[in-house]
Point group: C2
Chain length 639, copies 2
């Protein structure tokens, strides 16, 4: 046995016994030490670095570690084997997570506008924003010798009188607190619950002045989780916030997480990572912001992809990635917050926007609901750019959907200097055709220096590099200059910020491998659109409207996305960025019973096209892996 | 701070920090050291003795500790205060508890007869022994490219076909195991659940060879908990067992436990004592005996008094003992095993036989159900002798009930040499009128020497002492002899077994205080019967049948019970001992949906008479505190 000490930056050291040959990343997971490992230990992302302080590790040399870093002791934990006692420094993932935990400023009209627009739109489509949750305040007489009704019958009787209902159901969590809540408040109380036909379901009993009833709408993305709290009576937004998905330590993409959940204890581990480590702190944070108790949350709604839904519920997720790729469930009825131990009223229903296939999940049905393409005569394309890309095409007459594994490139993954759209990310870029000098837009305060490149930035850079003929349609460097460098193997790269210009003292650049990765990602999106259109015998001409959703951000330059052949070449005014439509869909569902029904209807009416087995898809993909495309006629505006 | 070390007989020592002046019994409770304290530290029972091994304790002298014992270091922990570091020996309560954990021998026809008789009787009263629990075994086709139904829809479809139901409900605990159970068993499975009208509620999914579906009927007595497991399909008894109620460490009677639950954290403590420390080990034990998994238990039924029901559910029990004595609930719908964390299928309904007042609980409604007095033209009296005494009188036309605080005398409490009906208990006795020598029947193997006296033994001894004119109607000794002794204060006692004759080397005797305690207990019973009859303008002549139930045991000598004025003086053949009717009632309810409905009906039709406020009850009680009674005309057979 060897002792491995993890010296965690900003935390207490953790010691674990290891056998010689144990993988260091695995050991860290066993010891519950969080090391950022988006590729789940495949050695491809280079993020899981640790610094050897004492002792030895058996490591292979990685392209992610420079000679200088190697000499300083930096190693990739995923390719390090324990050989004896050692101490390693673990960079602080917690602070990275904390920095991703954000609470939105709801005094900003921009934050509110998107929800107001969604509500307004759905109202226009005939979806009323009504629900049956109620907070009822009333006084009862106390029992006495002449009035010997026990507490539950007394409450039933009072609620029948107050609400005109026939039946009252008082479940266990309310029954156990009934006796002392009534007496503590001299039989003057607030009862919260839901009208269900002629029955009132009591969900809580509180002091008469605690009347808050709240909905919680959640978008669980593979990378980021976003949430809003809303007043169930007025529909007012109470708080909005987000944070990274805590499952990321088990892999940046869904496949690695599915593999992980299939291991011993894996389902619980992945479920804890989302429920305990991610949703619970965000809810706590937002409840604090809104000044409410989590017990006031009477309904939750969730927009999440199929894998996220399965992992959230602790259901075996292997069917999602195994032939014939049929998930264990599409829709799920009757789930309660208590089932998941979410910090909310334990009786609060958790409404899961239904999945329609292994790779088109509830985030897409919720997003489709929000986009309202199901209510239009015109032909609409809906593209959600998340860690995967999902596409819906159709109108009020039909809906087709498919998914493509675009990979994490749009969120900065698979790119050497890629990052999420947080402080220091290059989110937009132009390049001077003559000088080849870039002009950057950087996320953060004025004066923020670049740290890396986020999705919208990569689109711009590649479009500009191609536009300036610095790279060719294959993504190879064909012009030389101060900012074009080559390594010992001749691989070209474009230096967007030199070590001096950057925030971190490290060069920010994009190389041919990055560009190749990105071309494959954009090719996946385009060929999916192309195939989906072909499957209904249509062409891009037929598209009346394109809704782009997802975490790539409102900064996305649609023209550049078309220029590189990522989106079909239709008039720019047809494009509209609609933000996180999974969240706006979930917001509609938490407030409106009709929205829930409509979302189920949308899911039931949507046809799922499995691209991996669709004839011609692979050819279409290969053809799309050029800038803009091997068939330039598809991009008339580039001609 | 002082260190107190509890040296537990047969266990590991436990150390706790105490402040000077801390009560030793309280300190033991904080340290989770179990000391038997039936009177909950009131100093009256003398059971909480510990032996001081080292250090000092500040104690007052108690009549329960002799001078010799005092010198040996014996102290009552309830009146001992910590003054400094000390070590005390704690007698092993665990072994006492273990000895009370019993598994019945179901090969014995006597054990089965009472349940068969109950079932037969209820069938005669038109109660069918049917329920809607089912175990369905079937094979499904696996999903494939041409059959893309997800697991839950696939299961729904299969069950609709198998059972002809319209709806199938698959709750969370089944949903989460659905995917891997189906695949582990190649889609050949058993589904267990309940038919509810046109809906089938899935409660479990298992391998096709695991088809057991089991009911668990429980009688929760204040002192003893008894349970049977029964096959829900065949009605066959699978196992039967009992153990002491773990709440006893917080008081032998309900009042002390109610006080305890009202303290900080008390509800959880009392609930844990019954759920975790009592029901869980019995269920585990019986499941092992029956060779089934606890998850096969699909319904539980509970016959328990009002306080036990409240404590079990963790509901504030103060309303039970506080004016106007109206419990928080009579009946409780929709309770599940998972709510209580009972080891059973978490979705298994827990059917609580309804309470009808603070001191007439579900044990009595269940017992009344089993007695079938609700189905008879004749006038029946039903007497349940537990820690309290409850009485029901009536016929198919009306039912009246009341309760009296007889105290624990019938179970050996409040009696210096009293004990429960376990090994060594004197359960029957005759005394020779001339020699005054006793002839004893003792519980246990042949050759077992006496340890103490249980309820039925006390009735016999007092009846015989009175019959032999050794005591007078007030219970005072009026004859002298070898076996009649007096202490320094002149208090008389009858020595049933000398120190030499006894098992423990301690004399077994009954003294004037014991007799006085018992006279008050039997007086409470008789006056309750008397008052109940008066309340409906009837006299003992009207009684056609007397059913005696409860833990006092089948050994009870009805003639002696009449002779001492405990039961009304009616023909002996009218008396019938029906055992633990709360358990037989619960057994009927776990098997039969109609029995559940009938029990609710019985409860709804039963009138509760609050004796404490009933005019004339106190006079009746005082008059009954003689042997047999101040009004000898009430006992013509004794004249």
């Amino acid at each position: 046995m060897s002792k491995v000490i993890f010296q965690i930056e900003g935390g207490a050291p953790v010691t674990i016994d290891c056998n010689p040959g144990d993988n260091l990343l695995e050991a860290a997971r066993r010891a519950n030490v969080a090391i950022d490992a988006p590729c789940s230990g495949n050695g491809s992302c280079g993020k899981c670095r640790v610094k050897l302080l004492e002792g030895e590790l058996d490591c292979i040399i990685s392209r992610h570690i420079t000679q200088e870093e190697w000499e300083q002791g930096w190693r990739l934990s995923c390719n390090a084997k324990v050989t004896g006692d050692c101490t390693v420094l673990v960079p602080d993932i917690a602070s990275a997570y904390q920095s991703r935990m954000k609470t939105a400023d709801l005094s900003s009209p921009e934050e509110l506008a998107i929800f107001e627009a969604a509500q307004q739109g759905l109202l226009e489509s005939g979806i009323s924003f009504e629900n049956n949750f109620r907070a009822v305040v009333f006084a009862m007489s106390a029992p006495c010798e002449d009035d010997t009704m026990p507490d539950n019958e007394r409450l039933t009787w009072a609620l029948q009188a107050e609400l005109g209902v026939e039946n009252v159901h008082i479940p266990f969590p309310v029954m156990v607190k009934l006796a002392h809540t009534l007496r503590e408040n001299d039989f003057y109380v607030c009862v919260k619950g839901e009208l269900q036909g002629d029955t009132f379901l009591c969900m809580d009993i509180t002091a008469a002045d605690d009347t808050a009833i709240v909905g919680c709408a959640i978008d669980i993305g593979t990378t980021t989780v976003t949430m809003v709290l809303t007043d169930l009576t007025s529909g007012k937004l109470l708080a909005k916030g987000s944070s990274g998905n805590g499952q990321i330590r088990f892999g940046a993409d869904v496949i690695n997480r599915i593999i992980e959940q299939g291991r011993q204890g894996g389902k619980k581990k992945l479920q804890d990572a989302i429920v305990k480590d991610t949703l619970t702190p965000i809810i706590a944070n937002l409840c604090k912001t809104a000044g409410i108790s989590a017990r006031s949350i009477l309904r939750l709604s969730i927009g999440a992809n199929t894998t996220m839904n399965h992992l959230l519920l602790g259901v075996d997720t292997d069917p999602v990635r195994m032939d014939p790729y049929i998930p264990s469930f599409f829709s799920w009825e009757g789930l309660l917050a208590g089932d998941l131990h979410l910090p909310a009223n334990p009786l609060a229903p958790v409404v899961i926007a239904p999945n329609i296939g292994s790779y088109v999940g509830g985030d897409i049905t919720a997003g489709t609901l929000a986009s309202r393409i199901w209510d239009k005569d015109e032909m609409s394309l809906f593209i959600d750019l998340g860690t995967n890309g999902e596409i819906v095409f159709g109108s009020r007459d039909f809906l087709m959907s498919c998914a493509c594994s675009a990979g994490p490139a749009f969120e900065g993954g698979d790119i050497s200097c890629g990052m999420r759209a947080t402080d220091g990310a290059i989110e937009a870029c132009t390049i001077d055709a003559d000088t080849m000098e870039p002009t950057l837009t950087i996320v953060g305060e004025k004066g923020q220096k670049p740290v890396g490149i986020c999705g919208s930035g990569i689109i711009d850079i590649i479009a500009e590099l191609f536009g300036c003929k610095i790279i060719n349609p294959k993504g190879l460097f064909v012009r030389e200059g101060d900012r074009v460098k080559r390594d010992a193997h001749g691989m070209g790269r474009y230096v967007i910020a030199t070590a001096d210009e950057s925030e971190t003292g490290r060069e920010v650049s994009i190389n041919e491998v990055d560009i190749d990765n990105f071309i494959r990602a954009k090719g996946a999106i385009f060929s999916a659109v192309d195939t989906l259109l072909q499957s209904v015998d249509m062409t891009p001409d037929c598209i009346d409207k394109v809704y782009v959703a997802g975490g790539i951000g409102s900064g996305i330059n649609m023209q550049n996305a078309v220029r590189i052949g990522m989106f079909p070449d239709v008039e720019l005014e047809k494009y509209q960025y609609i933000g996180n439509s999974s969240l706006t869909g979930a917001y509609a569902m938490v407030l409106s019973d009709e929205a829930i029904r409509k979302c189920s209807e949308v899911a039931a009416n949507m046809t799922y096209l499995e691209l991996s087995t669709y004839p011609g898809y692979m050819d279409s993909f290969v053809a799309a892996c050029f800038i803009p495309h091997t068939d330039a006629r598809l991009f008339p505006s580039s001609l």
